[in-house]
């Protein structure tokens, strides 16, 4: 394992320290916890948004703490859900009197830990609502699985629900808007190479030189299948077709697109992918209202990418395009 770290056990702590030092105008640390909140938290009279999950997905989620997006982010150990006491501290630190929405990615551990934290906060009299993001179409949603995983589409939930809260909406309204995003967002990814969790010291899986994994999750969970690497266009087409096959998109519909790098993919390659996506959507007369290309929900140094398509209506479009000012997401 070759990594720019000091000690595998201190990676999360040292990352949080560095992040706060880089962005003191945006975020501060809740003392004694792996929790980042807005520098001016709690924002009075606004619904608070808290998300979080395992570390290793930077800039998710700490990079999205700021005006127009999250109020708090909880950092677990690498690829491991944060614990209830940590999430509870985040909820308490951001509650401005209108309640707190928890944005949870659909993983068994995340759900259990966030639910326990919600129970603790509710016992203190804080109003808490939850939404669970499950945008990954690679994993079939059936009674036989835990359901779809939450991946890069989560960033659209942060953006849009965050804008809704900023407008002064109440907790139920913010939750409903977040649920609308979740109902309309679909993603799927692929990996060219694995990543190494610092504490594990070796990759969690291996791929042959010419092999890729389609449908790979953001923690290195296996995808749908492995195949020999194809061209960027062929791979993008496969993923986008899976996404569109699961979406209800008609001619003339508007969408937002995210081409997300998993941490080890050059932007050059992400733009190559975006070119194909734009062409395919144009051919279907689907209108792209906004495109995001970059590293939004990474998986340490994994090479690969995911595509996210969000179907917009007038409300979602307005909120998506609203301003945001956070360490990793700035929009005017």
């Amino acid at each position: 394992m070759k990594k720019v770290i000091n000690n595998a056990e201190h990676v999360v702590e040292e990352m949080l320290q560095g992040l706060v030092l880089a962005h003191p105008q945006y975020v501060k640390r809740v003392a004694g916890f792996d929790v980042l909140v807005r520098a001016n938290s709690p924002v009075q009279g606004k619904v608070g948004l808290v998300s979080g999950g395992g570390s290793g997905h930077e800039p998710s989620h700490g990079g999205y703490v700021g005006r127009g997006m999250l109020d708090g982010a909880v950092a677990g150990a690498v690829f491991t859900s944060p614990t209830p006491d940590q999430i509870y501290e985040a909820v308490k630190a951001v509650d401005g009197g209108k309640g707190v929405l928890l944005v949870i990615k659909n993983y068994t551990g995340d759900i259990m830990n966030f639910e326990m934290a919600a129970e603790m906060a509710e016992a203190d009299g804080v109003k808490v609502a939850k939404v669970v993001v499950n945008d990954d179409v690679a994993v079939e949603n059936s009674t036989w699985t835990t359901g779809r995983r939450g991946i890069a589409g989560t960033v659209f939930v942060h953006k849009i629900a965050g804008a809704k809260a900023e407008q002064g909406a109440n907790l139920v309204e913010v939750q409903k808007t977040a649920e609308k995003v979740i109902a309309n967002v679909r993603s799927m990814g692929m990996a060219l190479s694995p990543c190494t969790v610092p504490a594990a010291g070796k990759p969690s899986f291996t791929l042959a030189d010419n092999e890729v994994e389609i449908g790979m999750g953001i923690h290195g969970e296996p995808g749908t299948h492995r195949e020999s690497i194809r061209t960027a266009d062929e791979t993008a087409e496969h993923l986008l077709n899976k996404i569109l096959g699961d979406s209800e998109l008609n001619t003339g519909d508007e969408v937002a697109v995210m081409v997300n790098g998993l941490g080890g993919t050059p932007l050059m390659e992400l733009y190559v992918v975006n070119r194909k996506i734009a062409a395919m959507l144009a051919e279907k007369n689907i209108v792209i209202a906004k495109t995001y290309v970059g590293n939004y929900m990474t998986s340490l140094e994994m090479a690969g990418f995911s595509i996210t398509v969000l179907k917009l209506d007038s409300e979602l479009k307005e909120l998506l395009l609203a301003p945001a000012d956070t360490p990793a997401f700035v929009q005017f």
Partner: protein
């Protein structure tokens, strides 16, 4: 050192010693962190135990372990094992000695906690596939009038069979469920850690008896 503390220290030792094995099992069907997370939790447990060396109340010790696991393990194992220990603690509260009947009640409470928190049932390739058969073996042996250590030994054997059984079934809970049929052939890491803990407690009880 009080008995409950010594038993929990033995648990911490076995989990930490199996860190790599549990992580490798998880790498095959999950996200390769079970051993790492459990070790982080039980290292914290060790620290807490050393500060409470004289605690005689078995319920108090188990509660300490459960709270520590919840706040340090993360993932799914933290809430699941944490809840299990806290539920068992409620049964053992104020007790410094426990008999077969109490152990059976603790066992039942712990499994109930895991089911409530994880919304899982047996046959989904989880820790329940080791724990439920173990509990049944324990209570059946108890009804036959066997000693606590014999009940535990039979429970451990049933848990071992349960771990083997997880190799033959499809995971429908947790991250391994994404694999569908590809999860067949792999033993469940959670069932494995449950087996290891039960085997350790059994060995501990036998040592105490001698």
């Amino acid at each position: 050192m009080a008995n409950g503390i010594a038993a929990m220290e033995a648990l911490a030792d076995v989990i930490i010693a199996n860190k790599e094995k549990l992580t490798e099992l998880d790498a095959a069907i999950g996200d390769a962190d079970h051993g790492i997370n459990m070790t982080r939790g039980f290292e914290a447990v060790r620290v807490k135990l050393s500060a409470a060396e004289q605690m005689e109340d078995i319920g108090g010790v188990l509660k300490l372990v459960g709270m520590t696991l919840i706040s340090t393990v993360g993932g799914a194992s933290g809430p699941l094992y944490g809840t299990a220990f806290i539920r068992a603690a409620a049964v053992a509260q104020g007790k410094t000695v426990i008999d077969s009947d109490i152990v059976a009640q603790m066992f039942k409470a712990a499994i109930g906690g895991i089911k409530d928190r994880g919304k899982a049932v047996r046959g989904e390739k989880t820790m329940l596939d080791a724990l439920e058969p173990a509990y049944e073996a324990f209570t059946q042996a108890m009804v036959r009038g066997e000693s606590l250590t014999d009940c535990l030994t039979l429970a451990t054997a049933a848990a071992a069979s349960g771990v083997e059984y997880t190799k033959t079934i499809i995971a429908t809970k947790g991250r391994a469920s994404y694999l569908g049929e590809r999860s067949i052939g792999h033993q469940d890491p959670g069932a494995t850690s449950s087996y290891l803990m039960l085997a350790t407690l059994t060995a501990f009880a036998i040592e105490q008896e001698v």
